[in-house]
């Protein structure tokens, strides 16, 4: 997949993974696993990027005598998901246009 497109989609996926409640690295990967495989390193980069873009905030809490970082979605992050849903219709119609010829031939 085109790297820019994939990057954008993965950002949305991670935002969706923390939409319904704060989550942490391992849980995000586990929740996404049935849909999309994500390496730890890629997740790190995405989380960092989303934090920089003010789409999520990070808080460190103690868990079992060690530290764990929880990620919390911001208003801006929620907005990003809503925008994506709206954009999706546009993408779908582009897809239909692109595959129009295939449908005729096939």
């Amino acid at each position: 997949m085109d790297i820019q497109l994939k990057r954008g989609l993965l950002d949305i996926c991670v935002l969706a993974a923390i939409k319904d409640g704060d989550s942490y690295g391992y849980k995000i990967i586990r929740d996404m696993k049935p849909y999309i495989a994500l390496s730890e390193s890629t997740l790190y980069t995405i989380l960092k990027r989303l934090e920089m873009a003010d789409m999520l905030t990070v808080r460190t809490t103690e868990h079992d005598g060690r530290l764990r970082k929880y990620y919390h979605i911001t208003k801006k992050g929620l907005q990003r998901i809503e925008n994506f849903k709206r954009e999706w219709n546009e993408i779908l119609s582009i897809y239909r246009f692109v595959t129009k010829e295939d449908a005729k031939n096939g």
């Binding site: 730890e40 980069t45 970082k69």
Partner: protein, 192 residues
């Protein structure tokens, strides 16, 4: 490989990044490994799941934005606007360095001039002593020659002192130059 060894290697693999960045990434992977282990994986399995250090560093490079760094025009503006401050500071630092350098050599030169004075006292003492003696003033003549010989003796000691001082000065300047060079090299590595 156990967790400690893995994190040590990871730290080494990431050494090109800033210290804060390394700490953050290492703590991220530490948390991941701990969470995998909490889910029932062994330490070995958890580390295998994370991947090798090589894979991680490669991923970091791949994820890094391909967009080249923008030239920060405000940074350049700050350098130019701040020039009355840093320029005068730079000049004063250079002036201090120059004066230290000059005073070091002044010490060496003055030591050598003491040596030169002793040598000329020796020559003058012998010569004037001989003149005194030849013109009939035997006792002052002998005293002059004696003083000349004393100067000659002292000059031998002073000569060694001068030699050592010159050597020390050259060494000091060399060392200062080296430390400035290695410092600026270190800074260049950090900025890169």
């Amino acid at each position: 490989m156990d967790k400690r060894e893995f994190l040590k290697q990871l730290r080494k693999g990431l050494s090109g990044l800033s210290r804060a960045d390394i700490t953050e990434r290492v703590s991220f992977y530490t948390e991941m490994i701990d969470d995998y282990m909490e889910e029932g994986l062994s330490e070995e399995e958890a580390i295998q799941r994370i991947g090798t250090v090589n894979e991680i560093t490669f991923q970091i490079l791949a994820d890094a934005s391909p967009v080249p760094k923008k030239h920060n025009s405000w940074k350049i503006a700050a350098i130019i606007l701040g020039s009355p401050i840093w320029l005068s500071l730079l000049i004063s630092v250079l002036a201090v360095a120059l004066s230290l350098y000059a005073s070091l050599w002044a010490v060496v030169i003055s030591l050598w001039s003491v040596f030169g004075a002793l040598c000329s006292c020796f020559l003058a003492g012998i010569l004037s002593g001989a003149v005194f003696a030849a013109t009939g003033y035997i006792v002052p003549g002998v005293a002059m020659i004696g003083a000349g010989l004393v100067c000659a003796g002292l000059s031998v000691f002073v000569f060694y002192g001068c030699k050592a001082a010159s050597k020390g000065a050259v060494l000091l300047i060399k060392k200062a130059g080296q430390s400035i060079k290695s410092n600026s090299a270190k800074r260049r590595v950090q900025n890169a």
